[in-house]
């Protein structure tokens, strides 16, 4: 499958920071949930006031903004076909959520409302950054072949976290925010029992029997390059998987344990079964094996421009990793000759924490700093500050992010969805985007003539359905002409 669609979902953490004397502790889970939901609902509602076209939870850029489990505002990107597009659309979601938050900042109550893009609080609660990829049925049958790659990609895709001190008094740094929350290889659940491969039945599309690969294992990324590399390398690996290039025996002995071990120690040994032999590898070894397979494959099958670009970036980052020296248990970044902190979230965060620790910051301060890294507010977020100071690489120009906030991608069905949302917005028709595949447009029921499904005066039905079964179909002139006619008649 040379062409595929993919997208991400981000659950954000809204937090009201008040002076200590004004803090009202939510005593029980129900109180906290009600408080969080109230804020999330207001953030989502505020997005509608930002001069953007919306229809229910769906946006004029083809994406979706809604309140998810646990009272987290969640943004799902529209379906994209290029990695750069996806990065731009995810960043557009971050901007949208931040701007909505600023809109509801009430001087009396919400002045200190901040939204964070991370995956964990200090009380052991997690919330996700999910990925979705369209994968051929052949690829899905062999999806287990991806596990060694998925477990070890955290070495460049992790967002990093200052650990909470454990029972042994251990305090240090983990590469991944999400690693500790996975206990098995497969699970159909997205909470409580999470699996490296999420196998829930609901699928976004069945086009040519292709399937939705839903991954909940990744960290939410702040760094543009990290986000791009996380998606770009997986897109490369999916092609290898579908082309039968990952068929050799290569299995981790205990994937969930390996996920946690690598997160705590970049150089941890991971037991694997390969070619009938049990061997111990580091995460970097496993990533290098994956990269070598990709290089061999693309030497024989010339890559497209974007594939070549991410292949090259993958090579550069793994090369840089070979010269990287860290002491995670002491929160020290000893050596980063290739300046990977400009590109990779966890390395940048470790550098920032190390810098602060060496100047005397204590454990609580370091954990606070860790959280501030993910604050989306450009006036107070630590990553945002690094971006302003040009201490990190930019992948996407601001104008492209601004465009992604307004307009859908032009090469997937998200364009059709976005155009329907835009053209019907503010007109006297009701739009129900039922799911990622179905849209229903109805005449508004406050028009007496619109109440019956067939209007005899206008000789017309009062609703129309739009089907987005084909994920690659970005335009449908006939449907758009029918929609214009419908709006003219009823709107």
């Amino acid at each position: 499958m040379r062409q595929r669609i993919f997208g991400t979902e981000c659950e954000y953490a809204p937090v009201v920071h008040r002076p200590p004397e004004c803090v009202q502790a939510q005593e029980c889970r129900e109180d906290l949930l009600a408080h969080q939901k109230n804020i999330a609902v207001r953030i989502v509602a505020a997005a509608r006031g930002l001069s953007l076209a919306v229809a229910g939870e769906y946006l004029g850029n083809g994406g979706r903004l809604y309140v998810d489990r646990g009272g987290h505002p969640e943004y799902a990107t529209p379906e994209c076909r290029s990695v750069e597009d996806l990065v731009a659309y995810e960043l557009a979601g971050d901007r949208l959520v931040q701007e909505s938050t600023e809109t509801i900042a009430d001087p009396q109550e919400m002045l200190h409302l901040h939204v964070y893009k991370n995956n964990v609080d200090c009380f052991g609660h997690t919330y996700g950054g999910h990925e979705n990829y369209l994968v051929s049925s052949r690829g899905m049958e062999k999806i287990s072949r991806l596990i060694p790659f998925l477990v070890t990609r955290q070495i460049y895709a992790g967002a990093g976290k200052a650990m909470t001190r454990d029972q042994d008094g251990m305090f240090g740094f983990q590469i991944s925010q999400r690693a500790d929350f996975f206990d098995c290889t497969y699970s159909d659940r997205t909470s409580e029992v999470r699996g490296i491969i999420n196998i829930r039945k609901r699928e976004i599309t069945r086009m040519d029997q292709a399937r939705r690969l839903h991954l909940i294992i990744g960290d939410s990324n702040m760094a543009q390059f990290t986000l791009g590399l996380k998606i770009g390398t997986l897109v490369l690996m999916l092609r290898l998987l579908e082309e039968g290039e990952l068929d050799e025996e290569f299995e981790l002995v205990s994937p969930a344990a390996a996920l946690k071990a690598v997160s705590r120690d970049l150089h941890a040994g991971v037991a694997a079964q390969r070619h009938g032999r049990r061997t111990v590898y580091t995460a970097l070894d496993i990533q290098t094996i994956c990269l070598e397979k990709a290089l061999r494959f693309y030497a024989a099958h010339p890559p497209g421009p974007e594939e070549a670009q991410w292949l090259d970036r993958w090579v550069q980052v793994l090369e840089g990793m070979k010269h990287l020296k860290v002491r995670q248990s002491e929160m020290v970044l000893e050596k980063d000759d290739n300046d990977l902190k400009r590109k990779i979230d966890w390395i940048l965060k470790l550098w920032l924490l190390d810098r602060s620790r060496s100047k005397g910051a204590d454990e609580v301060q370091l954990k606070s700093l860790d959280l501030k890294y993910h604050d989306l507010n450009p006036a107070s977020g630590l990553y945002e500050r690094c971006l302003v100071l040009d201490l990190v690489d930019r992948l996407i120009p601001e104008k492209d992010i601004a465009k992604a906030r307004r307009e859908p991608p032009d090469n997937t069905r998200a364009r059709l969805r976005g155009m329907v949302v835009q053209q019907t917005f503010g007109r006297n028709v009701a739009v129900e985007v039922e799911n990622w595949e179905r849209i229903k447009v109805r005449a508004r029921s406050n028009d007496p003539q619109a109440r019956h499904c067939f209007n005899r005066v206008k000789c017309a039905v009062n609703s129309m359905g739009i089907c987005l079964d084909d994920p690659f179909r970005a335009d449908d002139p006939q449907v758009m002409a029918e929609l214009r006619e419908f709006i003219q008649r009823w709107g």
């Binding site: 987290h72 200090c122 500050r385 040009d390």
Partner: protein
């Protein structure tokens, strides 16, 4: 975090460019030093407000 804090614009000096458009190494290092100073001041502000209260206020409900 004080809301009144505005983004301190990094002071842009008139960096003299070499003929090939590259800044001289000493100017680059001065620029980098200024950025790091700016970052450290910024971190200092964050650390001043860091504490158990800050972490407590961050409490979330489990998501997916």
């Amino acid at each position: 975090m004080p809301e009144s804090r505005q983004i301190k614009k990094s002071k842009k000096k008139n960096v003299r460019k070499k003929e090939n458009g590259q800044a001289a190494p000493e100017q680059l290092s001065r620029e980098k030093k200024e950025k790091l100073e700016d970052l450290d001041n910024y971190i200092e502000d964050v650390l001043e407000e860091a504490g158990e209260d800050f972490l407590d206020q961050f409490k979330q409900i489990e998501g997916q």
